[in-house]
Amino acid sequence: MSEILRLEKVTKRFGGLVAVSAASFAVNQGEILGIIGPNGAGKTTVFNLIVGLHKPTDGRIVFNGREIQGQPPHKIARLGITKTFQTISLFNDMPILDNVVVGALLRHKKVGDAVAEARRTLAKVGFDPDITSSPGDLGLVDRARLEVARALATGPSILLLDEVMAGLTPTEVKVAVEMIRGLRHEGITLMVVEHNMRAIMSLSDRIVAFNHGAKIADGSPEEVSNHPDVIDSYLGADSEYVKR
């Protein structure tokens, strides 16, 4: 497996607050990297730094051999990295289909082609409701699906999923996990932030754990879930994922 993305000592300061502190880790082509940690640990900030919504205070982000830190998000999307939003940022004043068309327009010049691609993508994620209605009418699961569809339509090499399973029932989580695995089959590299440990453990090839903006563990799911710092800060000694 070859490395596709690497963060080197990436730091982000907001005024006096250090959101991310010297984070260094790599992601391999085609793998699913899980990212875990308590709230406020800097996970979303790391995503934002990668896609270009923030500029790192320090450090480098290297994608396929070239440095991308500080580039605007639309350029990074063009290069092949995009994300979904934790607080869902759908285009509520546009029909559902149009939301995905916007993403598809990145790789398809003609609107007609983009619309066709958008339809295909929505089918791929198993989207069922009426695509001419407004996103505001959707339930949580479908909204998450739409977010993923929109990001997927941009034809990314790396897709960052930020807590897409938040609020889902166990059945829905299973469906989501299947969908994410399906994405990997297409050759997309995935970085997944989730609090749902079952999902993360079953999905991830590797896991990176964060706390207070710093990476505290990096390795296979078994290694990370038994790491003392991870247990202390996040899992808790009673967690079923901790081997006794």
Partner: protein, 341 residues
């Protein structure tokens, strides 16, 4: 026959009605008369509204300073005519180009601004131009204003006897404006503008170059506005900074027409203009002298009422009504019920 079952026929009917409505005034009104003049002004404000709509309606960048482009357009062609004898038609092209360049200049400081800040920035620019054009009397004659030199009625001179020639010119320019607006709306740019007006961040993350999209919208909007400025100068034969760069006279009015008719729609500006301009003229005619402020008062009152009742404009209200009726009809006639609202 249910018209919904035959959309092509319905479309044809709509276009036929539109054509009839637009071609009616020159047929029934006197060439030099008052009514044809109002009709021409309706077309002009529909065009101005349509141009404003491209960035104010499609991209939700509320500009309160579009008079900047309008005034620059009006002065460009008039000064070119006055000093170099250049035909106003060429002047119109130059006007559009200069207005476009101006919008690019303005874009740099204002595009990072959102919402209210952007509106304030645009007001400032229009005011700067107004002050500058008032000040440099040597070129622009200042507050006294500039008369468009009378060269004789001819197409080449862009001067017509009566209103007829102007009406058809306006109709052509309006068609161009609507065409541009339509192409923007259904094309890539339209999708990008709608996306960024919903969420700048999300649009960027899925690959929309928001700066470029707004720049294009601003460019198209300002160029069209500049061209209309030339039209205005040639129609009214007289321009002065306080009017053509005026906040109330043009900036607010061209936006109001769209707000009334329907933000982000193609026909909204025409609908809004068809209501507002005759109303404006009528109140000005009825309430003269000391009571001239009444027309403004009515305007303002109407705008308030409209915003409280239907902030998106009449066409939205109309389409919502017909959507609801259509859904009702569908669910009544269909054993399967509609999902969603």
């Amino acid at each position: 026959m249910n018209p919904a079952q035959n959309p092509d026929r319905l479309k044809f009917v709509y276009w036929a009605i539109l054509a009839a409505v637009l071609l009616l005034p020159p047929l029934i009104f006197e060439n030099r008369g008052y009514y044809l003049r109002i009709a021409t002004l309706v077309l002009m404000f529909a065009g101005l509204g349509g141009a404003w709509n491209i960035i104010g309606g499609f991209a939700n960048q509320v500009s309160l300073g579009h008079a900047a482009f309008f005034g620059v357009g009006a002065y460009t062609s008039t000064l070119l005519l006055k000093f170099f004898g250049i035909s106003p038609w060429l002047g119109m092209v130059a006007a559009a180009v200069i207005a476009g360049l101006l919008s690019l200049m303005i874009a740099v400081p204002t595009f990072r601004l959102r919402g209210h800040y952007f509106a304030l920035g645009t007001i400032a620019f229009a005011e700067v131009l107004r002050v500058l054009f008032l000040y440099f009397k040597g070129i622009t004659e200042g507050p006294v204003g500039l008369s468009v030199p009378y060269l004789g009625d001819s197409f080449w001179h862009f001067q017509f006897r009566g209103n007829l020639g102007y009406y058809f010119t306006a109709l052509t320019l309006l068609s161009l404006t609507c065409f541009v607006a339509y192409r923007v709306k259904v094309g890539r740019l339209g999708y990008q503008l709608r996306a960024l007006s919903n969420s700048h961040e999300a649009a960027e993350v899925v690959g929309v170059d928001t700066y470029r999209a707004k720049l294009w919208a601003s460019l198209l909007s300002s160029m069209l506005t500049g061209a209309w400025g030339t039209f205005y100068a040639q129609y009214l034969y007289f321009i002065d900074p306080d009017t053509v760069f005026g906040f109330w006279t043009f900036s607010v009015k061209m936006a109001m027409v769209v707000i009334l008719g329907g933000l982000g729609t193609i026909w909204g500006p025409l609908v809004g203009s068809a209501i507002l301009i005759p109303l404006d003229e009528w109140t000005s005619a009825v309430f003269t002298g000391n009571l001239s402020a009444v027309s403004r008062l009515i305007y303002g009152g109407l705008l308030i009422a409209l915003i409280l009742w239907q902030p998106r404009g009449l066409l939205f209200w109309f389409t919502e009504m017909s959507e609801r009726r259509r859904r009702k009809r569908r669910s009544l006639g269909n054993p399967e019920t509609e999902t969603g609202a």
